[in-house]
């Protein structure tokens, strides 16, 4: 949902389904490497070392460190949301109605606290 808002803000149209499915995201520079890195870290995958190396080679050291921070803090943020059951605020709930339905996000366990 953040991606949707951001892409609208800068006047571009990104495909959210690629984020959900982990497919390549060609319109974002280093999209493939960022997705592989985020997946490997989140899942604790043995592929993390390779994903780390490929991302650093593609974006450079400073951007790699920022990516490390983003991926790490979002693993904390999702746990904050899941463990407190914070519901979507009404504006976000309305604005994302179609995309949540299209992407199957409404089926996640945490959806029940906002939707039911």
């Amino acid at each position: 949902m953040l991606l949707r808002e951001s892409s609208e803000a800068i006047g571009e149209d990104y495909n959210e389904a690629s984020v959900m499915g982990g497919q390549s995201h060609h319109r974002v520079t280093a999209g493939d490497e960022l997705i592989a890195f985020g997946e490997a870290l989140t899942l604790g995958s043995p592929s993390l070392a390779d994903a780390r190396k490929r991302l650093m080679a593609r974006v450079g050291e400073a951007a790699f460190v920022q990516a490390a921070g983003i991926a790490a803090i979002f693993n904390g943020l999702v746990r904050t949301a899941d463990s407190t059951g914070i519901p979507l605020d009404e504006n976000m709930k309305q604005a994302t109605e179609q995309v949540r339905e299209a992407l199957g996000i409404n089926g996640f366990a945490g959806a029940k606290n906002t939707l039911h």
Partner: protein, 223 residues
């Protein structure tokens, strides 16, 4: 805490704001509150780390270090660390009934902060930082009396100015500050207020949000 998180000395070009915040977080986690002693808070961190390191394993295949914590506190810590997508209102109600809202919020803040800091180490390819020693410090942990039921599992401040998710732990200001201080520096790369969304890091905003969205979707986080 200066001996911890020597990122730059170890060859990682980590902004000083992140180093400073991680050191402060270790200090806060080690400090006792009226709900959890220093030993208990460090035990929560230790158990969360163990659960996180075994997140690929099925729950019944995981093993844990000995603990001083109650069965309920252990269940809450390990589930939030490794199986958060399975959390339901019924599960959370059981934990908050047995632990109390404020102790539960403090426990969550330790687990999610540990998750972020350990995740950062893994992302960089750096060994996990040793947990701090037991402390006799006693940071303030007053509960906010203005919190209310907004339909979440725990009471929160309402109204709230800023991103909605940043009030999730607002029942206990020190718990919220522990985690949100890390969000501020790790999300923006600088010590900016999360709500300001100031963007001056080397990654573009679409790159950041692509990465963040993928991490959230793998975690099956509705929010």
């Amino acid at each position: 805490m200066a001996e911890y998180f020597a990122y730059v000395e170890d060859g990682y070009p980590v902004p000083s704001e992140i180093t400073k915040t991680h050191r402060a977080s270790w200090e806060t986690i080690a400090g006792g509150t009226r709900h959890w002693s220093s030993e208990q808070r460090l035990d929560i961190a230790r158990q969360a780390r163990a659960a996180r390191q075994q997140r690929q394993e099925l729950p019944f295949n995981r093993s844990y270090p000995d603990s001083l914590l109650s069965t309920t506190a252990l269940e809450a810590t390990r589930t939030i660390a490794a199986d958060a997508a399975k959390i339901t209102r019924a599960w959370a109600s059981k934990q908050t009934l047995e632990l109390g809202f404020a102790p539960y919020v403090e426990l969550v803040s330790i687990v999610v902060t540990l998750t972020a800091i350990d995740g950062f180490a893994e992302a960089l390819g750096r060994p996990l930082e040793s947990l701090p020693a037991v402390s006799s410090e006693m940071p303030a942990s007053a509960e906010d009396e203005d919190v209310t039921d907004i339909g979440a599992y725990v009471p929160m401040q309402d109204p709230w100015h800023g991103p909605n998710v940043s009030r999730a732990l607002s029942m206990v200001a020190s718990a919220n500050a522990l985690f949100m201080s890390n969000v501020a520096v790790m999300y923006t790369g600088k010590d900016h207020d999360f709500g300001e969304m100031i963007w001056d890091g080397p990654l573009s905003r679409p790159q950041v949000e692509l990465l963040a969205a993928r991490v959230s979707s793998i975690n099956e986080c509705f929010y």
